[in-house]
Assembly symmetry: C2
Homo-oligomer: 596 residues x 2
């Protein structure tokens, strides 16, 4: 019964039903052209990311068929292209490396199980509408994590570029291992790899302007640019075949099985599932965040929208599809989705055509890839991931917000030093702790009247009128358990230091919520002030906050009043402040205790 | 060097130097009377809480001497009385029970080590000014924890009252074990225990009104009331001696060593320290919170103040003192501090006199306690802790705030079912998660112009003017990573659903902070809106927020404007709204997507 109701939640909104009814010839053209370009781009990427994940290259092709088809049915983005992506492949490699040796059948089986668990989690999160969990990955944490991941991936590909073997538990270990391997460098491999990398960088940056300078239209120039990796593969594969590079010790891709993706099943092993649970969750959340941010950006350009919870269902189905067809964890990729969008894809049918293209490649093209140098694929990965590396985020957050800088730096360093899984968890923990720490020290300003107006300003920033008998405090944060006591401290200190004090007025214009702890703190403040012969008043309480306070004893027992405006409060409690009899110099008390 | 600077932080503010200089005869009288009353009250409590902690009764007396003296030197409260308290004794028992069998020398040694670690942590937290950590224990969590602790303590004392042995891992286990022991009840013990409990309840509730009805002055009536437990002890001890209850199988306190508190040292064992670290931290924080809230309440009554960080230092010194004189973890107790205050204590010298009183009892009185029935002490504990039990908090939080209710209920149930340590951690985790969850779904209201005014109100609550070309959103929460995306969603949805939209204006009056994630979200919103031909504007941005935004590219690239007031924004962007040409009915869009 529960399953039926969960399914009903997912099915009525099937995006397929919406766009499928309005499919026409023009849409078909757009989708077809886009699919062709994405297919050309995806073939080398799929092979490369499979190798990055420590899997045979054909697994990358398998992971690009069923997921694309399933996303076309369930996805709410019109243009998202789902398949293996760099960061998720790295996380997959880091996870499986703890359970099996790369290249073995056991390793592939763990990858399939990981895709299954990740798919099941995404699907469950979607059906239970838990998409908001992804919100707890802050932009600084994601930036730090992606940058560190890009560096880790690039470093891991250097060994393939050098034609050596090197392993490391973290970034420094890995670089040290590579440095030790320099004497064993296979120089032919390195030469081919470096040339391929340079060529791909040039294609990315310099080719399009050059072509357009030659009078080529921007669309055609775009297509040619996207085909750059295919050209690199064609050229190096031909040279490897013609010049017999394999015999000279260069590592090539070798035999790739020809045929349909196999039907596979995850391992049903509770102990393995328990160990994979946290990595699968992290892979799910990272994949979801990457996918949704791409989808949202592209949808907004055409004033369309995507449904985050529907996206969870679609990505869940895609990963389950990958698990049952010999694939590994997938998500919506940035580069390929942008290419799909730019090439004019109108509907998810473009994804279906792309899947058919990859399937044809799996059936027909694999023999042609026998002589493909692995260094060429490494070059493809390096060029792709270095665009992920963004140290600028360190500078930008340093300028804008120190806590965010700390979150970026902690995530980046932890990911490089401790690996992707721990790094991500450290980042989330640090960013939440910093947020809680900040809200636990709210800005509380002692305010005074700006002479001649009804406005109140911080006594530390402005020449304002204050009265020794009245303390005006403006609290710039919602009150909750972690900061309620600091308001208590502030009021207690003021009451102890200002002997003539008779009234304390809290200006509540920025208080969006008062939780039960803060309410008790207000009660404690009120009691203590009353014991000392001081009345507590409130001003400018928001409607929803007032509604809830009215249900409590606090307002009934309050020995002060609630004023609509702060000016009314001050004018009614200390009228002498209006005629200039009161001091206009800020009190020392305020200067001592305010944060501002 | 660092140690010296840390010490300097603690020493210049030594409260002793302040009150010591102004000590006179009148103060001495007040302190002396208060000390006498508190001593009478503390002797049975100290014995009882030591038994509750699973320690020999004399340890309770030891823990009431050095801590009182050290608190008098370092403490910032004039009236706080430090010593063994119920909840900390329960936590101590729960912690040590995992490491040694109650009643053994090893058990006592772990208690000493626990007091040492707890003292060291409190001292370190004080010197590093980490008192704010205690703010993360919310009132609901404390209430739920204290209520559950009271129930656990009362249940644990029932076995002493029944004269049987019973152990249980949690509340239900314990009650079940007691139920199985009913046939073994020692009926004489139970009769004495129940009568003592009833007597103590009557003393607490009914004696004072009765005495005052007889014309006894309220102060004297108070003293007599406080002596109730001493009377119960005197009577039952005499009867046990006279009627030979020990021979009839009743458990009595037995021989208590006479003499000064011993000099003891903690165990220097890294493995044990690691295991005790978390319990010691929890005991420190709970003790600190209890102590500070008592101290603050009493200080405020006389317009005095306490320094939370100085209190950490003082409680740290007290616990270290307990560790070196054969004691166990201590903190400022509620009942004894209130008694001290009410009896007229003026300075911490009252604590010094109390310590001398307890010391005299340790030297002279212990032989008189040989025949004291343990059931009488159990009755003392039960009566004391049942006043901690407050189920009303469940109802109050239910009415005021459902998340707070969940926090109370989770803490209460987890403490009863899983024990004090896990219960407290569950409570903190749940309350933080609920806070984060709430702030991650901010209230965002679509607002419209109240006709004839410059005010804007929620379109769902008021008949206001809106324009199909302009969307006014008021965000009632600071923007940070966990809620930034929900603003993105809200704006995206609105842009997709309102085809005539040309302007989005965010009213920022309640936004106290915008972190780096939220800034990126604003940039993403701005880009997406721009792609769709819509301008993003801000209004009523707070000074500090504006200061930080000015340092970024966001304002430079903004394709809309920043308005001082929301009315200026609307009047300048859609002037037709002012002359009544625009619709006054809320749009369906707003009705669909607003939370309110």
């Amino acid at each position: 019964m529960a399953a039926v109701s969960l399914l009903r939640r997912a099915l009525p909104s099937l995006p397929l039903l919406e766009w499928g009814q309005r499919y026409d010839r023009e849409t078909l053209m757009g989708d077809g052209v886009a699919a062709l370009i994405v297919t050309i781009m995806l073939i080398p990427q799929s092979l490369a990311y499979a190798l990055l994940a420590g899997l045979p290259p054909e697994v990358g092709l398998y992971a690009s068929v069923a997921p694309l088809l399933l996303y076309a049915v369930f996805g709410s983005s019109r243009v998202l292209a789902v398949g293996p992506v760099a960061v998720v492949s790295l996380m997959t490699a880091a996870t499986i490396g703890e359970h099996a040796a790369a290249g073995t059948a056991a390793y592939w089986q763990v990858a399939i199980t990981l895709a299954f668990l990740s798919g099941a989690m995404l699907l469950a999160m979607g059906l239970l509408r838990l998409g908001f969990i992804a919100n707890f990955l802050s932009h600084p944490v994601i930036s730090g994590f992606i940058t560190a991941s890009g560096l880790l991936i690039a470093a891991s590909q250097l060994k393939t570029l050098m034609g050596v073997k090197a392993e490391g538990h973290n970034f420094v270990d890995l670089l040290a291992a590579l440095a030790r391997q320099v004497p064993n460098t296979h120089w032919l491999t390195l030469t081919v790899g470096v040339l391929a990398t340079a060529f791909l960088f040039w294609v990315r940056k310099g080719l399009k302007p050059l072509l357009m300078g030659w009078g080529v239209g921007p669309k055609v120039a775009d297509v040619i640019t996207k085909a750059g990796p295919v050209a690199a593969i064609a050229v190096t594969t031909s040279l490897a075949w013609g010049l017999g590079w394999q015999a000279q010790g260069m590592k090539i891709v070798g035999a790739i099985p020809q045929g349909l993706p196999p039907f596979t099943l995850p391992t049903w092993d509770a102990a393995l599932w328990r160990e994979l649970a946290v990595p699968a969750l992290l892979i799910s959340v990272v994949g979801f965040v990457e996918s949704v941010s791409v989808g949202q950006t592209l949808a907004a350009k055409r004033r369309q929208r995507i449904e985050p919870d529907q996206e969870l269902v679609a990505l869940g189905a895609s990963n389950l599809g990958a698990a049952f067809t010999g694939g590994f964890p997938v998500t919506g990729g940035f580069a390929r989705s942008v290419v799909n969008f730019d090439a004019g894809a109108q509907t998810p049918a473009a994804g279906v055509f792309t899947a058919i293209g990859i399937l044809l490649a799996t059936l027909l093209l694999t023999p042609a890839l026998y002589y493909l140098p692995q260094a060429t694929l490494a070059a493809t990965i390096i060029v792709a991931v270095l665009s992920l590396v963004d140290f600028g985020i360190l500078k930008r957050t340093w300028v804008y917000s120190k806590p965010d800088f700390v979150a970026v730096a902690a995530t980046l360093l932890a990911t490089l030093a401790l690996g992707v899984e721990t790094g991500l968890l450290v980042g989330v923990g640090v960013s939440l702790a910093l947020y809680l720490w900040r809200t636990s020290r709210p800005h509380i300003a002692t305010v005074g009247l700006v002479p001649g107006t009804e406005h109140f300003r911080n006594v530390l920033r402005h020449a304002v009128r204050v009265s020794p008998a009245l303390l005006s405090l403006r609290v710039d944060e919602s009150l909750y358990f972690a900061n309620a006591r600091s308001l208590e401290d502030r009021v207690n200190d003021a009451a102890a230091a200002q002997p003539a004090l008779r009234h304390v007025v809290l200006q509540c214009s920025a208080i969006n919520d008062i939780d039960a702890s803060a309410l008790e703190s207000l009660e404690a403040i009120e009691h203590r002030l009353r014991d000392a012969g001081i009345a507590l008043h409130l001003s400018e309480v928001k409607g929803p906050v007032m509604d809830r306070l009215k249900a409590t004893d606090f307002l009934r027992h309050l020995n002060g009043q609630v004023f609509l405006t702060h000016f009314q409060a001050v004018a009614s409690l200390t009228p002498d402040i209006l005629d200039g009899a009161a001091a206009t110099t800020p009190t020392n008390l305020a200067r001592e205790t305010s944060h501002a």
